[in-house]
């Protein structure tokens, strides 16, 4: 399978908008839907509980969204999500609605976005018409830190995000905002943060989500490397040391590997099978761009969410001059050392070819 050129990828992006209860998802959605660029967007609202209160707040025309009223999308209506997307596509193609430009799935506050991603990844037919646009997670600056500390589900929503949207910033001081941003940097160092004021999203949030998986991996790996370096460069006056927020992170961490030598694909997939089988539950998100021995000029792009992996996509060329394999892990309770050791043991990767930014920086 070859990945379409992102600029010419005509597939409809599906963005998952998540965030804990009361973190401002619906406000954000209401404002987003007013933007001209959102014309042709469909919103799938997934309510928690029997009464769909949230949708009453969304000022959108009837045909623009489909409301799922039967509970949590993550556990009970996965099949319905697929059916709903197919129905939206059919209507759009048949001219019954305006042409579909994008889909936003707003999850219940408690939802784990992973099963929604699984649903999309597992439906090959669906993925010919739609692509995963990304996960946007709202975090409100008033309750965010406390919520993240108390609820591992909230921490997971943050960790697996492609973009964090900080809300209710007009209610607190700049210092409080800074503290939260700092906290989020530690929990999710790979994720870009955007600030919403009065629910207004200043930059075009959805358009800026990474459509190009390869440069996304490269960018995240770079961020993680920089974050690692930053931590280790911390002087004696540093107040945001490595373990500072450890207790509030629910074992969630992010790390990356850079591998200099080309990777033997058969051994690497064996290792992937093992990871999925034994650590799948705790592998919150895995992204990689891989230089393989059999075709080193055409990298493979990988994307996994827990035990589910997207079929690897072969790119026609490297997105930049950096042709090293980069692996990005967002995990819960998995040590970096475990990944390093098993890569060497089962993926036939030479220990000397694994760069360890942490050690290099120390």
């Amino acid at each position: 399978m070859s990945a379409p050129d992102p600029t010419s990828d005509a597939r409809i992006p599906v963005t998952i908008l998540t965030g804990f209860l009361g973190s401002g998802k619906t406000t954000v959605l209401n404002r987003l839907l007013r933007q001209p660029s959102l014309a042709g967007a469909a919103v799938i609202v997934n309510e928690f509980g029997a009464v769909g209160l949230d949708h009453l707040l969304i000022e959108a025309s009837e045909e623009q969204f489909t409301l799922l009223d039967n509970g949590c999308v993550c556990c009970t209506v996965r099949g319905d999500l697929v059916a709903t997307l197919k129905e939206l596509d059919r209507k759009s193609q048949a001219g019954e609605t305006t042409p579909l430009s994008q889909v936003i799935v707003e999850t219940t506050g408690l939802a784990d976005p992973a099963p929604i991603l699984h649903t999309l990844m597992a439906e090959a037919e669906l993925m010919t018409r739609f692509r995963i646009g990304g996960v946007v997670t709202t975090v409100d600056v008033v309750n965010g830190a406390a919520t993240l500390a108390r609820h591992s589900e909230a921490a997971k929503q943050v960790a697996v995000a492609d973009r964090l949207l900080i809300t209710k910033t007009d209610l607190v001081s700049n210092e409080a905002l800074g503290d939260l941003q700092h906290h989020l940097e530690h929990l999710a160092p790979a994720v870009e943060q955007t600030i919403a004021r009065n629910g207004e999203v200043e930059l075009d949030l959805l358009a800026s989500l990474p459509a190009d998986a390869a440069s996304d991996v490269a960018r995240i790996a770079g961020r993680l490397e920089a974050a690692d370096h930053h931590d280790h460069a911390c002087g004696p006056d540093c107040h945001h040391g490595h373990d500072h927020h450890h207790d509030t992170h629910h074992g969630i961490r992010s790390f990356s590997f850079i591998i200099d030598k080309p990777v033997e694909w058969s051994a690497f997939t064996r290792w992937l099978d093992y990871v999925a089988a034994l650590k799948g539950e705790n592998l919150l998100r895995f992204k990689a761009i891989v230089r393989t021995t059999d075709d080193p000029e055409r990298p493979l792009v990988l994307h996994g969410v827990q035990h589910v992996f997207h079929p690897p996509a072969r790119l026609d060329r490297w997105p930049s001059a950096d042709r090293r394999t980069r692996l990005v892990f967002i995990v819960r309770d998995i040590e970096r050392e475990t990944i390093a050791r098993t890569l060497v043991k089962f993926a036939a990767i030479d220990a000397a070819s694994i760069a360890t930014p942490a050690l290099a920086a120390a």
Binding site: Y274, L278, T338, R341, T342, F346
Partner: protein, 554 residues
């Protein structure tokens, strides 16, 4: 001040504790089913009150109860209590006559289940004339008779009706239904997997009630107790077994510690739910002495049937050709998933591996799991750690895998003769490298695999571990790989404290130490001073379970 008096005190014993810190004692005190003192007369004197029962051992040897790491309990008890028994040497006429007697005594409509006919009778039974003879004597009762391999069944026409079978029924995968060559009419012979069809019919008929299951289990455990066994692992515990153990435990009638291994897949010889469905029910079957803490996975078959998986090929065979090596039933990635899942659930895995390639694959899978999961307190077993590639011997200790030594085939047997035919003599004799495993630091645990062994007598096994010669006197002068013999003290550890560690009960059983269960056996001799060739003659005089007598030799 609370009464410190013990309930029970043993004195004047030659008490071998299996506690390396204190190997010998002469007195033991018990209170509330637990050992409260181990030492000499003076150590128990203060605990001996007016109500304390004092047992003078008069110099007899006492040791902790035996722990059998691999047994199949229900079948033996069912056969003894509820089934028609005849020896494999019984003639066709005898067999028919015995069914006739049983039918005359049993109520109308009730099942007659029996065994085992010699498999050499199979061609004779697999005929319409034989079926007609069986039907004549069964008086309309459904009859099912098992053969001596436990793989095949012969049933009467009534059972064929109950099972919904007719001449148009297709053969199941990996089995066949006997048919008359001329007419295609069914003969009642159910070969290999076809046996499952009629076994399931019986299971679904409600023939075996929970009361019968408990009685059968209790009978089997009483047999274990008579040989000094006070803890065991049931190596293929289906739902009726789990229910019987829990039922006995709830009634205070379970006279041994039981650990159960729930099959990941329905075994070929037992029927009902297995795998995730069965595992999900485990907590409802947990009791004080009933612990469903293992999962059983069959990775291959047996060498004699050329179904075990080996690195080197079997001898040439007209059907399988020159180069057949056997095969594994479960792939390494599947095994990895199973072991990983079981570790998440806090369950050990017992993996049946009869060939050296199966052993290698099981070790490979556990190596992967260890690499990702790090150390664990759970114990995984390789059963039966018998044919092992030399490079794999050290991996048992490295990976913390238990070598399940069962059944008692550590000396020349008819099984070994079968292996010589399928593997060639030189390879067949590289069987049970026990001493090598021990030297490499592996945890060796003893088991009977009863009823694969006709009885679960550990003393037969212990002699075999020490002499590598057949204790019964069969195969005189022959020894199996005698360099692999081990000493009797080590053999005793293997059948007590080692097996206790292997089944996760080392804090409770396996040695005579303060705080452990008062599971104690009194022997008719000091087995540490008995000539090796007499060890199998050892008799258990009394078996105590939690300080209660559960067996006394008449």
């Amino acid at each position: 001040m609370p009464d410190r008096s013990a309930d029970l005190v043993f004195t004047n014993g030659r008490i071998y504790t299996l506690d390396r810190k204190r190997p010998w004692a002469s007195a033991v005190a018990v209170k509330g089913g637990r050992i409260v003192a181990v030492g000499e007369a003076a150590d128990v004197a203060a605990l001996t009150g007016a109500v304390t029962r004092v047992v003078d051992l008069k110099g007899a040897m006492m040791m902790p109860g035996i722990v059998d790491v691999h047994a199949h309990l229900m079948m033996g008890g069912q056969a003894e209590l509820f089934e028609l028994r005849f020896p494999p040497t019984a003639s066709f006429e005898t067999l028919i006559a015995r069914v006739g007697e049983a039918a005359a005594k049993s109520p109308e409509g009730s099942w007659i289940i029996g065994g085992q006919w010699g498999s050499d009778l199979l061609p004779k039974l697999n005929r319409l004339e034989a079926l007609a003879a069986l039907d004549r004597v069964s008086q309309g009762r459904p009859v099912m008779l098992r053969d001596d391999t436990y793989h095949n069944r012969w049933v009467n026409s009534q059972v064929l009706v109950l099972a919904g079978l007719s001449a148009s029924s297709p053969d199941p995968e990996k089995g066949s239904i006997g048919r008359d060559p001329a007419t295609g009419a069914l003969t009642g012979m159910m070969i290999e997997s076809a046996a499952g069809i009629v076994e399931r019919t019986i299971a679904q008929s409600g023939h075996y009630t929970e009361e019968m299951d408990r009685a059968a289990m209790a009978r089997s455990i009483a047999t274990l107790n008579s040989y000094g066994v006070t803890a065991f692992l049931d190596a293929a515990a289906m739902q009726p077994i789990l229910a019987a153990l829990k039922g006995l435990d709830d009634r205070g009638e379970l006279t041994a510690w039981s650990v159960s291994a729930m099959p990941a897949v329905e075994p070929s010889f037992m029927f009902g739910i297995a795998g995730d469905e069965l595992i999900a029910l485990r907590e409802q079957y947990r009791g004080v002495h009933a612990k469903p803490d293992f999962v059983k996975i069959f990775l291959d078959g047996v060498p004699g049937a050329r179904t075990a998986a080996f690195h080197e090929p079997y001898t040439k065979d007209p059907v399988l050709g020159c180069c057949f090596r056997g095969s594994t039933i479960v792939t390494v990635p599947e095994l990895i998933r199973w072991v990983g899942k079981c570790e998440k659930l806090g369950l050990g895995v017992k993996i049946h591996c009869a060939g050296d390639a199966a052993v290698s694959q099981a070790l490979d899978a556990i190596d992967v799991v260890r690499s990702f999961n790090g150390p664990t307190k759970l114990k995984h077993h390789i059963a039966h750690a018998s044919y092992i590639a030399p490079d794999d011997v050290a991996r048992f200790a490295e990976l913390g895998v238990v070598a399940d030594l069962s059944p008692f085939l550590w000396y020349p047997t008819s099984f070994l003769e079968g292996h010589k035919q399928t593997m060639g003599e030189a390879r067949a004799l590289r069987f049970w490298p026990n001493r090598d495993l021990l030297a490499a630091g592996a945890l060796l645990a003893g088991g009977s695999d009863w009823p694969v062994m006709p009885n679960p007598d550990p003393w037969d096994g212990i002699e075999g571990l020490v002499t590598r010669r057949n204790p019964s006197g069969e195969f005189p002068g022959a020894a199996l790989w005698p360099e692999q013999a081990i000493d009797v003290a080590t053999a005793l550890e293997i059948f007590t404290i080692n097996s206790a560690r292997a089944i996760g009960l080392a804090d409770t059983v396996g040695s005579i130490e303060i705080g452990k269960s008062a599971d104690l056996i009194v022997l008719d001799r000091n087995v540490l001073e008995t000539p090796a060739e007499d060890l199998a003659d050892t008799k258990v005089l009394t078996t105590w379970f939690e300080g209660r007598v559960v067996y006394e030799r008449a």
